[in-house]
Amino acid sequence: MLLFRSEENVTQWCRARGLPMRPLVSLAQLWQLAVAWYGNRLTVESRRPQPDEMASIFASVGLTGAFWDPNADGWRRTT
């Protein structure tokens, strides 16, 4: 995931690579994700969030839909 100064820069970046525009995330949302994901990473009990936990974390910051679903079959490779 990359940082851009503006949505227009994302549009141009995607166009230059022939890639679809994906959902945009704000800096405030990304901070909430960082805290949820890594806030206890240096502790004994730390572990990577499991798929259901990931979906809950995304939903808690307003990121919902298949793009944010780690179990979404439609996004998985078929080969």
């Binding site: 995931m1 851009f4 820069n9 994302v10 730390s46 979404a72 439609g74």
Partner: protein, 147 residues
């Protein structure tokens, strides 16, 4: 404490203190523990997606998220310490993990314009920017270095 937890904590302690990710040998010497046991723990931590080894050399770490074992375009300063992050999410993940204020030096993904993010105890100081996730969550680990 089991060996996997000891190794995990040692890795993160070393990178948090120095900014450099350790090798299996570094960790084995520091715990101390047999090198083969530490190498096996590295493999299990990789299976848990807590580590990504350097391609072609499983004794070295490419990623111990949020930390990067190699220089990237996401540099993070916490006091006198310097870190590299794997992506902009991980760049915020470093101050989140260290519970410390930080300065993130990054660039616009399209123009290369430098963008500095100040992270305080209350979170990032607002600046004009957006974050673009090009890969859906279900495919992040198809190629995590690309993601």
């Amino acid at each position: 404490m089991d060996i996997d937890t000891q190794v995990k904590l040692q890795i993160y302690d070393m990178v948090a203190r120095t900014g450099a990710v350790p090798s299996t040998l570094d960790v084995a010497r520091t715990i101390p523990a047999p090198l083969d046991d530490v190498a096996a723990a590295f493999r299990r931590l990789q299976e848990k997606r807590l580590l990504v080894p350097e391609p072609g050399d499983a004794s070295r770490i490419r990623m111990a998220p949020p930390f990067s074992g190699v220089p990237t375009q996401f540099r993070v300063r916490v006091g006198e310490r310097r870190f590299y992050a794997n992506c902009v999410w991980d760049a915020l993940g470093i101050p989140a993990a260290l519970h410390a204020a930080a300065l993130v030096e990054a660039v616009d993904g399209h123009t290369g314009e430098p963008i500095t993010l100040e992270i305080t105890a209350a979170g990032p100081v607002p600046v004009p920017c957006v974050i673009h996730f090009a890969v859906p969550a279900a495919r992040w680990w198809d190629d995590i270095v690309h993601t």
